[in-house]
């Protein structure tokens, strides 16, 4: 009799625990839902759209002839096919490094100078705003990165190796957090980026507005801060590893619907 009561109590306690856990997840989901209506990424999107057609830089030109891989001036659909190989630069480029190329060739800006500028300031802030608008122009489209060029295939393979590369003081690699299903850090769900993590998850969500610091984060900054948390040294803007990782994640995300720019914690 007594034992039964005890077991009953224990079962009750277990249930209560499970319920509390569920309500935490529900509460967080409810919070995220509330934020979706009115994503401040809109502010950056509007800024990027205006920057695209504005005559600027030493050559006083707009970016309207910029080729993002779909032909000069074509913005819609470009985001879901990047990174890709560009014959004029003979390089695989992601959206941001490609934008910097256009700002240099069309507008006369100094590409190296922009690459050195901290995120969120000067021309780098403009690159982020432009990337936000260009990503938004492919909202609802599905990822389909080209892999027909040898350089694109090599970028994928280098990216995969960089993804699993362990180092630093804490022995972390990208795969430490993003190599398995259903894991989280604190309350943040961690997408498994070694495969297609699903519509609007992982690569298909960035650029994103970060509510924790009120900043617009491009994929370059997303990767930069991943490496910071990994306790790695500093990855250069547009460096080979960052672009190869984007290729790896982008190819893995084939068929995933882009919701970028998203809103994140």
């Amino acid at each position: 009799m007594r034992t039964r009561t005890l077991i009953g109590l224990a079962a009750l306690a277990l249930c209560a625990g499970a319920q509390a856990q569920k309500s935490t997840a529900d509460g967080i989901a409810e919070y995220r839902k509330m934020l979706e209506d009115g994503n401040p990424a809109d502010l950056f999107e509007a800024k990027g759209e205006a920057l695209w057609s504005q005559k600027r830089g030493p050559k006083n030109a707009s970016l309207e002839k910029c080729d993002l891989g779909q032909g000069p001036g074509v913005v819609k659909g470009a985001f879901v096919t990047l990174p890709r190989y560009f014959a004029d630069t003979q390089q695989v480029q992601d959206l941001e490094s490609r934008l910097v190329t256009c700002m240099a060739t069309l507008q006369g800006f100094d590409a190296a100078e922009i690459a050195k500028t901290p995120f969120g300031s000067g021309e780098m802030a403009n690159v982020t705003a432009l990337a936000t608008w260009i990503a938004a122009s492919s909202r609802g489209l599905r990822f389909n990165l080209p892999q027909s060029n040898a350089a694109e295939r090599q970028s994928y393979e280098v990216g995969k190796r960089a993804f699993y590369f362990r180092g630093g003081t804490h022995d972390f690699s990208c795969a430490s957090c993003h190599g398995e299903e259903g894991k989280r850090i604190r309350l943040q769900d961690l997408p498994n980026l070694t495969k297609n993590p699903g519509d609007g998850i992982g690569f298909a969500a960035w650029p994103a507005y970060r509510v924790s610091n009120g900043q617009m984060w491009s994929m370059q900054l997303r990767l930069n801060d991943c490496f910071r948390q990994q306790r790695f040294p500093y990855p250069g803007f547009g460096s080979e590893v960052t672009i190869a990782l984007a290729t790896y994640m982008g190819v893995n995300a084939k068929g995933a619907e882009s919701i970028a720019p998203a809103i994140k914690r």
Partner: protein, 152 residues
Amino acid sequence: MQTRREMLSRSVTVAGLLAAAGFLPTSALAAWPQAAFDAKSLADAVKALGGSAPVESKDVSITGPDIAENGAVVPVGCATTLPGVKRLLLLVEKNPNVLAAVFNVTDAIEPNLSTRTKMGQSSNVYAVAMMGDGKVLYAAKEIKVTLGGCGG
């Protein structure tokens, strides 16, 4: 009832006096209710806005998530089903200064507003309705703020 214009002109006078006395108001706007925004409690904030002691009421509602993943942005809303509301306030009990927003409501809008506030920690959040007849009614809700991310 004091009109907004009267309030403005009176505040301008006060600001002028303060400036003359060497106290520079931190606010660029004379009408901004500094004392209310300096208040440390619900009662003090309402008092600074000229209101009576607030009474809990089912006719006022406060909306927000049960848990906020990040205290930097917490979506909150305040509303009332009663006619004749003059002001709706939003307050966060455990913030250093409790008052977040004062909405001076007219008949041309619904007495139902939403915004987003910062929360330093888990806390009660209040919606307050200051009515035309002098009544001050409020509703409270607890919002938990969790620690997110890698914490570094």
